[in-house]
């Protein structure tokens, strides 16, 4: 059997932070603290969870935008977290990214043509100047932008069009996996629908795998095959779409889903209102990290950390309620 496209094993990323002048003990933000998952070819895995829980840090670790603290990131059977620059170059081509803010991620001085040509040249994908031109124009067709727009610069486009340029740039490298970090979050409702549809079409057309990072659960449900729910640097539940949305098991997943207001006036809802704020990842709570807000907390939760355990064929949950005592 071929390995999954992406495998992440016990990934940790601890950011050192400046502590006070006389404070000898170094402090860390435990942004990602032991996360494991896999993504198959052509699959969409969504990472959800509240602001600061470590979603983008996971994405950036996969893109190797920094060195990780520990763990492994394996692409198509080959470790990339410690790959040498030569190997890394080819690996980089295979994993691309689309960010939230299309404006700040595009160079304002470059024409669209050059923005798209850059990755094609960098990875040596074009056989000739004509081939380069063919690739660049067909990318415009793929993301449904007019070819005339190739000579314009990013500021001449609307937010949705800029996001299409960002997607075209990612596709230019012919990747197998695209990390979409809040790629549709900043867009207006009507434009968001256009981009969501485009991403789904592209996935089908090119067999792309997506790591879809988002805090919009309704969009996630619409887009995804599987979901990993994060809380304070850990995955608390992973399951296929159906299980997550029909039968969530982790108390945090339940609370998160119940908090989403439904666009149906008069809908009978009983949101689980969590108390308090998300604790700081500098000093995550001992035991279960969710215990300070969990409605079902009991003694064991405060001292012992629950591990992810299988509760169904493809469902994994980290909660003491799921374990034999």
């Amino acid at each position: 059997m071929s390995p999954p496209l992406l495998q992440v094993n016990d990934l940790k990323k601890h950011f050192p932070i400046k502590s006070g002048l006389f404070n000898r003990k170094p402090e860390f933000v435990y942004a990602v603290d032991g996360v494991s998952f896999e993504i198959a070819r052509g699959e969409t895995l969504s990472l959800v969870g509240e602001s600061g829980c470590g979603k983008s840090t996971v994405g950036r670790a996969i893109l190797r935008l920094f060195e990780i603290t520990s763990g492994q990131v394996i692409l198509d059977g080959q470790r990339i977290d410690d790959a040498a620059p030569g190997t890394m170059r080819q690996m980089r081509r295979r994993v691309q990214v689309v960010f939230q803010d299309p404006f700040s991620s595009l160079n304002p001085r470059m024409r669209v043509r050059d923005i798209l040509a850059e990755p094609i040249r960098n990875f040596g994908l074009a056989k000739s100047a004509e081939d380069l031109e063919v690739r660049v124009t067909s990318l415009m067709d793929t993301v449904r932008l007019p070819r005339e727009a190739l000579n314009r610069r990013p500021h001449e486009f609307s937010g949705g069009q800029r996001q299409r340029i960002g997607i075209a740039r990612a596709l230019a490298a012919e990747p197998e996996l695209i990390v979409c970090d809040e790629a549709v979050s900043a867009l207006d409702v009507s434009v968001k629908a256009q981009i969501v549809n485009l991403l789904q079409d592209l996935q089908r057309e090119f067999g792309l795998a997506l790591l879809f990072i988002s805090h919009d659960l309704a969009i996630v449900e619409h887009m995804t095959h599987r979901v990993a729910v994060m809380y304070l640097g850990k995955i608390v539940e992973v399951a296929p779409r159906r299980e997550i949305f029909a039968a969530p098991r982790h108390p945090y997943t339940k609370a998160l889903l119940s908090a989403v207001p439904l666009p149906e006036p008069g809908a009978q809802r009983n949101p689980i209102i969590l108390k308090g704020d998300v604790p700081s990842p500098i000093n995550p709570p001992k035991g279960c990290r969710f215990h300070t807000r969990c409605p079902f907390v009991f003694d064991r939760c405060r001292t012992e950390e629950p591990t992810l355990r299988a509760t169904g064929p493809e469902q994994w949950v980290a909660c003491h309620l799921e374990e034999p005592p």
């Binding site: 908090a259 149906e264 809908a267 209102i273 998300v278």
Partner: protein, 329 residues
């Protein structure tokens, strides 16, 4: 009885690219104790409408025309001094980004206290005690400690709750909330929405809620006004609007958002797209503002702007074919 009556509000800005008709002839009312939601995509004039009500539009480059009658008085005719007395007293506002409206160099306790001292004439001790009470009411843990902290020491959710505390410190008759939960996580949003509902029940304030989140609208609004390109294009009671939207833009908005539970209901199909994008408000628009994106547009639409017409009980929409659209939908 209408607490607020806005008549033909026009707020225009002089810009290098021409006059931006950010709000162009909008009329609406809010009854006492009622919650009106204003929805629409970014740039359609929601914030400019609310800033106009508070008379917080910089003039120039802005210019406000029309009339804004609040409890019988036209706010546009008041002196700056009279307007200051209304702001933060009879009408208060929660802004999109709490950090911009809280003063970063004053402790949160002092900010609530000063509001109370200025508007309610309380002395320092009474104001301090009341400030702690307000923070408790909005669910801030350890309020006695928090009154001594600065805004940057609080989380986003706490800052938003402090803003609500400041806004409600004077029992306003009208609370304007501009995207009060857009920057917050859903679990915190749920806390804030519950808080707003509780306070409304307790104080009986009318609320104008500005948002683009249709879920939030369904949750707390009684009536909804839909804006597009600086105009009001539809207005109806909330259940009626969601059940039978008449304007093609409203229909498009409702079709473009996926609903939680879609995968189970088997409705996770393709999202409806509204092609194109909003028109440039600096260019004159003839005919219907939505014609450039509307699937039903005809020559009539491109030539003549539709007026707001009654399409059902308390339900108005500005579309030449609204009734037909509703039957077709």
């Amino acid at each position: 009885m209408a607490l607020l009556e806005v008549e033909n509000l026009q707020t225009h800005f002089r810009t290098p690219g021409g006059i931006n008709r950010a709000v162009d002839g909008v009329s609406f009312h809010v009854n006492e104790g009622e919650t009106l939601a204003i929805v629409g995509e970014s740039g359609c004039g929601k914030s400019v409408t609310s800033m106009s009500l508070m008379r917080l539009i910089p003039e120039p480059p802005g210019r406000i025309a029309g009339s804004i009658r609040f409890a019988g008085r036209d706010l546009l005719k008041l002196s700056d001094r009279e307007m200051r007395a209304i702001r933060g007293n009879d009408i208060s506002m929660i802004f999109q980004e709490p950090m911009t409206s809280l003063n970063p160099v004053l402790t949160v306790g002092r900010q609530i206290r000063e509001t109370l001292m200025i508007h309610q004439g309380l002395d320092k001790q009474a104001a301090e005690a009341h400030a702690i009470e307000m923070l408790t009411l909005v669910g801030i843990p350890e309020p006695k400690r928090r009154v001594g902290e600065y805004p940057h020491q609080l989380s986003g959710g706490m800052r938003q709750r402090v803003m609500i505390a400041v806004a409600l410190a004077c029992n306003p008759k009208l609370l304007i909330a501009d995207e009060p939960t857009t920057a917050l996580d859903v679990t915190i949003q749920a806390q804030i929405l519950k808080l707003m509902l509780d306070l409304k029940r307790r104080v009986g304030a009318a609320i104008i809620l500005i948002t683009h989140d249709l879920g939030v609208v369904a949750e707390i609004a009684e009536r909804v006004m839909v804006m597009y390109a600086g105009r009001k294009v539809e207005e109806a009671p909330v259940a009626e609007l969601f059940r039978s939207p008449r304007h093609p833009y409203t229909q498009g908005l409702l079709g473009a958002v996926p609903k939680l539970g879609s995968s189970l209901a088997g409705t996770a199909t393709r999202l409806a797209e509204i092609p194109g994008q909003v028109p440039d408000l600096r260019k004159p628009i003839t005919g219907c503002v939505f014609a450039g994106r509307c699937a039903l547009a005809t020559d009539l639409c491109r030539q003549y702007a539709p007026g707001l017409e009654e399409k059902g009980p308390r339900h108005i929409a500005a579309c030449h074919y609204a009734a037909k659209g509703a039957i077709a939908a």
